[in-house]
Symmetry: C2
């Protein structure tokens, strides 16, 4: 069966070489005579997988020895409440309101302390991220931001450095460009955009926050327990961790984040170039905030947008419908997106314009 | 590569036909041109999977129309606190202390109300489950029990019916015998023993408890939200749900729970028969409480036990070491365990006894 071009926002396209490895590993993995779905999380077979995943992530993201790499359950969304439950504890935090998920994170945080929102682009459809920020109030425990906003199609192209501990939801652009991960107090990301299948969440906690973490909450919600048990307090999503290990191996094989950065820039340039070519298409994000992962655009005519994504799907380009909350069109071109898919999209956009422009 | 005989307690052996299907589906699934890891959870492709999984579970477990079938994150362990957080709310519940996981569930419940423990076999290594129970105190919100205890190797062979709503952690024997699921107010089970890979948890909630559920907790922890959003409040573990759907299809193809019940009984009879044959081996669970899923046994000599599981592993029988908290030996023979593996185990036990008896 032929594979089509998949522009889904997540779960999303994965490297075909990793899919081939996963197919093999499901039957038998690593010479152990046991498939990767069936091996105990407390086996030498799986230890090698999770240890390698941690080592690769540490290298790729330039993490320090004092940052704990955790593989948790519950999606990034569980971190929306788990983080402030553990560390906010009646204190004050700054949240940047750059999209649906940023807003959800702030909402959960309000249960556990005071939330300042010095920036919001909600009134203009979350079409940009802040270029500059004032220093947060005295005593701010952390600044939380969402580095890439999948629904609106915006992205931070810098790390907002305002002198307080940084927390970042990197779900949809993690490892898409070089990053100094050691700058962050806490990083989290669902796997299902740039790292693997859904069902596993990467969390990276700087050791200095362990002391601050609440120890009077259920053990499954305590970062301290997961750190101490090395993500094995209960059975983790072993297959998800396996795929993350293979995807990070693929990234290292390509040449690391510098290499994927160039590929991502090139692919984004091609799609935005087509959007900007004549005026038929309109990019939804402001120029300086355009995402390289989720490209949101429209013809300006809802019916025509619908015709586009339906005709595209029929032509083997799937997942181009915008998020249901905003409509329009969206092309998700994460790390594993192929040049062939991007070229096919650009060609189809040109053809569609020729027929409808 | 040859597959060995895998007696792991979980993640555990899966049906080989399902592994073959999963291998195919990772490349391309259902004629959609997209692999199962890469398809959106909000696609017709995935809707067909999750709808079928729910329908099969409902048929197999004889669930009623008022029972909501959820696929959640976090393992069974998250249900230890999520259930009482939602429904106990200062009330009183009865917990039966039949093992490590039952004890953990009771510990979490104490955060949210009064916990009565009318039965404990902890003093004798959790070697039995209760045969009879008194009626719980007036006002008891529910009785919680663990139907199969993986560490101790005991199992309830009846449903304790004492006139209060029943809650059951069925993680390690779910769908291993006919069950009238409609009797239960709440059922939960991690997938990684009898249903699929780790990373997804089945929860079955009777509708009448929705009103009782706390609505002033983070949305990710509210059963009501997950019911309303049909397990799509955030991205679920899509691949885990896919495997559950395939495993339940395999079960229905075999003839349902009556058929697997006969197979499980036959396999357990063969292993216990060998344990009881001469007196060389000692079963750890009391006779009426023996688990058909996790068979715990010992030679009575820790060094000899170690030699057994090491020699067995070298002979291609893996995972026979007892849980690290209790030592000894354990053979996990879940639904997907093969007759060939059981025969090989029994033969190896006989051979080992001949050499060491």
């Amino acid at each position: 069966m032929t594979r089509i071009h998949n522009f889904s926002a997540g779960p999303a396209v994965l490297p075909e070489s990793v899919l081939r490895e996963a197919q093999e590993a499901i039957w038998e993995h690593g010479g152990h005579g046991i498939g990767i779905l069936e091996c105990s999380h407390r086996s030498a077979q799986f230890d090698a997988v999770i240890d390698s995943a941690r080592a690769r992530i540490k290298r790729l993201m330039n993490l320090s020895d004092s940052q704990h790499i955790l593989f948790l359950h519950g999606g990034a969304r569980t971190q929306f409440f788990m983080l402030p439950m553990n560390v906010l504890r009646g204190g004050r935090a700054t949240y940047l309101d750059t999209g649906t998920w940023a807003e959800g994170a702030a909402k959960d945080a309000r249960r556990y302390g005071t939330v300042d929102v010095p920036f919001s682009s909600k009134a203009t459809g979350w079409d940009h991220v802040p270029a500059t920020l004032d220093t947060p109030p005295e005593g701010t425990v952390y600044l939380h931001y969402t580095s890439n906003n999948t629904v609106a199609g915006t992205e931070f192209h810098h790390v907002p450095d305002v002198g307080v501990p940084l927390v970042c939801d990197m779900s949809s652009d993690i490892m898409s460009r070089p990053v100094d991960g050691s700058k962050f107090q806490f990083i989290y990301a669902g796997a299902q955009k740039n790292m693997g299948p859904s069902g596993v969440t990467l969390a990276i906690l700087e050791d200095s926050w362990l002391e601050r973490c609440d120890k009077d909450i259920p053990e499954m919600l305590q970062y301290g327990i997961h750190v101490k048990k090395e993500s094995m307090y209960n059975t983790p999503c072993t297959f998800g961790i396996y795929v993350i290990e293979r995807v990070t191996a693929w990234l290292e094989g390509l040449g690391g984040l510098e290499a994927i950065d160039r590929m991502n820039q090139s692919q984004a340039d091609r799609v935005y170039g087509e959007i900007d070519r004549t005026g038929f298409w309109h990019g939804k994000a402001q120029l300086g905030s355009r995402s390289r992962m989720n490209i949101t655009f429209t013809t300006g005519d809802a019916d025509l947008d619908t015709r586009f994504h339906k005709e595209a799907a029929a032509a083997g380009l799937s997942g181009l419908k915008g998020h249901r909350s905003v409509g329009g069109l969206r092309a998700s071109i994460y790390n594993a997106q192929t040049d062939a898919a991007v070229d096919a999209l650009v060609a189809f956009m040109g053809d569609f314009e020729a027929r409808n422009g």
